[in-house]
C-alpha cells in the first residue's frame, strides 16, 4: 500500500500521519488535555532522535507530519522538525492553542507549515473554562490576524464533549468570519488529565450523531467544511476496508495509518489510548525503522488487526450505538 498511489483509502484523510508530541511543556494546563501537558512539564525529545524518526517514517510510508504537544511553539527545534519534513516532501501541520502566535514567532515557521490547527472549544466563557485561563479565547482570536498576515492557512479544532455540541455553530461562524479553512470536531477522550477533571464528559453515540448532523448543516450553510472524527454504523458497514486492514499485515501503514510519537519517545500505533502492550518501543532504545520491523515480526500488527476486526464486528452488529469514535473503540478492545 503506497500512499503516493492515486487513492489512499485509509481513515486519516489524504495520507498516513506521523503525529509527534516533542514535549509536554505547555503555556496552559487545559482540563481536557489527554497528554497532561502543562507549564511544569520539562524535557523534550532531542532533535537528533526526531530527525532519524522522520527519515524512517518517510521510508515507512508516512507522508504527513502532525506536530502537537504540549504547545509545539515551545519546542526549540520546531523549525528544524518542520523544515526536515518539508525537505522529505511531507505535509506539515501544527496544532496550537494559538496564544503564542505572535508575528515574531510565526516568521520563522511560516515557510514550513502547510496548515495550523488552532484549538477553539466554544464560546469565550466555555473556551476559557476548558483552557483554565481567563482571556485565553480573546488572546487566541487576536492572534489569528498574525496567521493571516503570515499567509499561513489555518483551521479550528473543537473538542466535543457530552455537553457542548450546541456551541459548534458559534465556532463555525467564527471560522467563517476569521478565514479559517475548516473546522475539525474531535471527540474528547478520557485519557491523561481529562480522566480526572472531566469524568462523564466523553460524548456518547447520540452526541456524535448530533455532531455529524450539525456539522453537515453548518458546513452547507456557512461554506466552511466541518469534519467530525466519528463514523455512523452505516459508514462502518460501507467502508469496512478503510478501517479494518487487509491481512496479512506486512507494512506498518497498513495497520497504523496514524503513528504517535509521545514526548518520552514511546511510539504507539493509532492513538495514545491503545494498550501499552502494543507499543512499538522507545526511540531512545532504537530507531523507528528497527522498532517497526521488530513489532511486525512479533505479530503485533496481527494482534492490532484482530482488535480492529473485533471492533468492527461488534459495532456493526450493535444498533444501539448510532455513531462511534473509531480509534477510541479499537483502543478499548486492546
Amino acid at each position: 500500500m503506497n500512499p503516493e498511489e492515486s487513492c489512499w483509502c485509509g481513515p486519516t484523510g489524504i495520507a498516513p500521519v506521523l503525529q509527534v508530541h516533542p514535549s509536554r511543556l505547555c503555556n496552559l494546563a487545559c482540563a481536557h488535555c489527554y497528554t497532561s501537558s502543562g507549564p511544569r512539564e520539562q524535557g523534550e525529545l532531542p532533535w537528533e532522535i526526531l530527525a532519524d524518526c522522520l527519515n524512517d517514517a518517510y521510508k515507512l510510508g508516512y507522508r504527513q507530519l502532525a506536530v502537537s504537544g504540549g504547545e509545539p511553539l515551545l519546542y526549540r527545534s520546531l523549525v528544524n522538525l518542520l523544515s526536515r519534513a518539508r525537505a522529505l516532501g511531507m505535509i506539515t501541520t501544527v496544532t496550537s492553542n494559538g496564544l503564542l502566535l505572535s508575528r515574531d514567532a510565526l516568521q520563522p515557521l511560516a515557510p514550513w507549515v502547510h496548515f495550523m490547527a488552532i484549538s477553539i472549544d466554544g464560546r469565550p466563557g466555555e473556551h476559557d473554562a476548558l483552557r483554565c485561563r481567563k482571556g485565553a479565547f480573546d488572546g487566541t482570536v487576536e492572534n489569528l490576524a498574525n496567521l493571516r498576515a503570515a499567509g499561513v492557512a489555518f483551521g479550528f479544532i473543537f473538542t466535543l464533549t457530552q455537553h457542548n455540541i450546541d456551541s459548534l455553530e458559534f465556532v463555525v461562524r467564527l471560522a467563517a468570519a476569521q478565514g479559517a479553512k475548516r473546522v475539525q470536531v474531535h471527540p474528547l477522550t478520557l485519557h491523561g488529565r481529562a480522566l480526572k477533571t472531566l469524568p462523564g464528559a466523553r460524548p456518547d453515540g447520540v452526541e456524535l450523531v448530533a455532531a455529524l448532523l450539525e456539522a453537515s448543516r453548518l458546513g452547507d450553510e456557512l461554506g466552511v467544511p466541518v469534519q467530525v472524527d466519528a463514523l455512523t454504523v452505516e459508514q462502518l458497514l460501507e467502508y469496512r476496508s478503510h478501517v479494518v486492514p487487509e491481512r496479512p499485515i506486512t507494512q506498518l501503514i497498513q495497520i497504523a495509518p496514524v503513528l504517535v510519537v509521545e514526548a518520552d519517545g514511546v511510539v504507539m500505533p493509532l492513538t495514545h489510548e491503545i494498550s501499552r502492550s502494543l507499543k512499538l518501543g522507545s526511540l531512545y532504545e532504537a530507531r523507528l525503522q528497527w522498532l517497526a520491523e521488530c513489532w511486525l515480526a512479533m505479530d503485533q500488527g496481527e494482534r492490532l488487526a484482530d482488535a480492529c476486526e473485533r471492533t468492527w464486528s461488534e459495532l456493526s452488529a450493535n444498533v444501539d450505538s448510532p455513531a462511534v469514535y473509531w480509534y477510541d473503540e479499537v483502543a478499548a478492545r486492546t
Binding site: 447520540v206 448530533a210 453537515s216 448543516r217 452547507d220 460501507e238 473509531w326
Partner: protein, 131 residues
C-alpha cells in the same frame, strides 16, 4: 455550571424548537400580504410540521412598484419581533429607469437548507488534522 448538566444535543434540540414559527407570526405575514398590492407568485413553507420559515415571491406591477419598500419594512420589523436568520431580499427590477415590474423574494424566519449526512469517510476516524 448548570447548563453543563444537560446534553449538548438536548440544548441543540431546544434551540431548534425555539425556531419554529408561531401561529401569530404566520398570521402577521398573511395580513401584511393581504394589505400589500403585490401579487403572491409563490410561497414555500420550510420545516414541515414544525415550520421554521416561509419563503414568498412577490410581484409588483406599474404604479405599485414603489410600494415594495413597505413590504421590505414589514419584513425587517417582523424579524425584529420574531427573530430568525434573515437573508437579504432578492430583488429583480424589470425596466430602467422606470420599473415596470419588480419581483421580490423574501425569507421569513429560518429557511436554511438542511444538510444531508456526509457519506465521505476520509479523515473521520480521527488521528491528526484531516486535510
Amino acid at each position: 455550571m448548570n447548563t453543563q448538566v444537560k446534553r449538548g444535543s438536548e440544548k441543540l434540540l431546544a434551540a431548534w424548537k425555539a425556531r419554529a414559527l408561531t401561529e401569530e407570526s404566520v398570521k402577521e405575514i398573511a395580513e401584511a400580504l393581504d394589505k400589500s398590492p403585490a401579487k403572491v407568485e409563490g410561497a414555500n413553507v420550510v420545516g414541515g410540521t414544525s415550520a421554521t420559515g416561509v419563503q414568498v415571491s412577490l410581484r409588483y406591477d406599474g404604479d405599485d412598484t414603489p410600494l415594495c419598500g413597505n413590504d421590505i419594512l414589514f419584513w425587517l420589523k417582523w424579524h425584529r419581533i420574531h427573530g430568525g436568520a434573515p437573508r437579504p431580499p432578492r430583488i429583480i427590477i424589470n425596466g430602467i429607469p422606470f420599473p415596470e415590474i419588480i419581483r421580490l423574494d423574501l425569507d421569513f424566519g429560518h429557511v436554511d437548507v438542511q444538510g444531508s449526512l456526509v457519506q465521505d469517510i476520509a479523515g473521520k476516524a480521527g488521528g491528526g488534522f484531516a486535510l
